[in-house]
């Protein structure tokens, strides 16, 4: 293994000039060393190629999971017709649409169950987004052993450098896995970045910490609602009910959300 330790240093440019010159000399006179170096480089290349093939296959799976809209470029909306005659056509089309909607509502005014459900879901999403906007747009630092690092993370977060902020909070958690502020903030970053699986895990860990005020369960419910898988609403409802029953942090907000579930 010693060969590979030195070879790796050589390849990574970590040998001193004297050591490198000695290694170059040894390569000329020792065919076994040249073989070992060639093997090392070829294996790295083979591993790289193998890893690329795997990632290609994973991307292919991802492609098939994406909605059709993912393959359409987002472009600014432009008016369809610019001229005066176009405006007349647009006005006429709007009138037809209005008449059509009017007829639809008169005709089906008795069967509104589906519409009510849609309206409820929309209202729920609005409330969740409103909570996140109100509470997770900026962070405020707390005092603690890692105050400097936390402050750095908070500054990144508040200037929209979310991934950098996430890296800082993860770094703190590696040193202090139970740092509740770092855990909370790491979860908020994941939530803001749309990484809901990770947010759920982080908020679950937060909820398991013994704190005088712990919003972990409520935040976990938010992450479930944002993720929006078929079973997520049910999970969120159970968590929100616990927040209410056990009189936990964010009980008032939980009561508002559970009304919509």
């Amino acid at each position: 293994m010693d060969d590979f330790v030195t070879i790796e240093k050589y390849v990574n440019g970590q040998l001193s000039p004297v050591e490198k010159a000695a290694f170059d000399d040894a390569l000329r006179t020792d065919p076994a060393l040249a073989d070992a170096l060639a093997f090392y480089l070829l294996t790295k290349q083979a591993a790289r190629e193998e890893a690329r093939q795997q990632r290609r296959a994973e991307f292919e799976t991802l492609r098939h999971q994406l909605p059709d809209t993912a393959f359409e470029e987002e472009t600014p909306v432009r008016p369809l017709w610019g001229g005066t005659s176009g405006r007349w056509i647009a006005a006429a089309a709007s009138l037809v649409l209005l008449l059509g909607f009017g007829w639809y509502f008169v005709r089906f005014s008795s069967g509104l169950d589906g519409q009510t459900e849609i309206a409820q879901t929309t209202d729920l999403n609005t409330r969740v987004d409103q909570y996140i906007t109100d509470n997770f747009s900026t962070l405020s630092p707390s005092m603690g052993g890692e105050a400097d690092s936390l402050q750095t993370g908070v500054e990144y977060f508040n200037t929209d450098r979310l991934a950098d902020a996430g890296r800082v909070f993860e770094g703190i958690l590696q040193r202090q896995p139970d740092n509740d502020t770092a855990l909370k903030y790491a979860g908020v970053v994941s939530l803001r970045l749309g990484n809901y699986d990770q947010a759920i895990t982080q908020f679950r860990r937060l909820s398991q910490l013994d704190l005088s005020a712990n919003p972990g369960l409520f935040y976990q419910a938010l992450a479930y609602l944002k993720r929006g898988r078929p079973e997520d609403k049910r999970e969120a409802k159970i968590l929100l009910q616990r927040v209410i029953d056990e009189n936990l942090d964010e009980k008032g907000a939980a009561e508002l959300l559970i009304e919509q579930l």
Binding site: A70, D129, A163
Partner: protein, 197 residues
């Protein structure tokens, strides 16, 4: 009400990939998703099948990830422009291959430019090994090493640091990951040498 953006910003994508660790894969997938519309536009523009264009796009994203992690992408151009340029080149390469009936021929393994700096002795051994089709054989042996060694050497091939490999595998320190990884390399070499003999 402020809406959440559909995709992370390019700055967040680049920082997330460079951060490495468990977040890297997440941001790599987000990068793939963000510019996936190139597949459809490339299909129309270059008159390639959607599968061919998707393959060129996957290769593009993998190259961009590599350029981001190694620092070759310096951010002088926008990520969108950068990815578009590489994607266009890959599509043109694909068209060339198809029109010259080379699509069934496997590409020869191209070595990194830095390997050209090797002393002649090592370079000629390396070139002989490549000519003998050793890469495919090594890939086969890699899979026979066991899950842990395979995962470690794959991560190493993808450019993950020993610290990141330690996190992925569950080792306490980067030093332990490095020692284990080099032991795996030694085991692979033993299997390899047996095969040669």
């Amino acid at each position: 009400m402020r809406k959440f953006p559909k995709h992370p910003s390019d700055g967040d994508l680049i920082a997330g990939i460079r951060t490495g660790g468990t977040q890297r894969r997440y941001f790599e997938n987000k990068l793939y998703e963000k510019y996936a519309y190139l597949i459809r536009s490339g299909t129309h523009k270059h008159r390639l099948s959607e599968d061919d264009t998707a393959s060129a796009y996957s290769d593009t994203v993998l190259s961009v990830i590599e350029h981001v992690t190694t620092g070759r992408f310096e951010g002088r151009s926008e990520l969108k422009t950068y990815i578009y340029q590489i994607f266009t080149n890959k599509c043109v390469d694909l068209i060339r291959k198809k029109t010259t009936n080379r699509s069934s021929v496997h590409d020869a393994l191209s070595l990194d430019d830095s390997y050209a700096q090797l002393p002649d002795e090592a370079r000629s051994v390396l070139q002989n090994l490549i000519a003998q089709g050793s890469v495919e054989r090594l890939q086969r042996h890699l899979k026979e090493l066991g899950d842990k060694c395979y995962a470690m050497l794959m991560a190493w091939g993808e450019g993950y640091s020993d610290e990141e490999i330690a996190q992925q595998i569950g080792y306490n320190t980067a030093a332990v990951a490095k020692t284990s990884r080099l032991r795996c390399l030694e085991r692979l070499r033993a299997v390899w040498t047996q095969g040669v003999d």
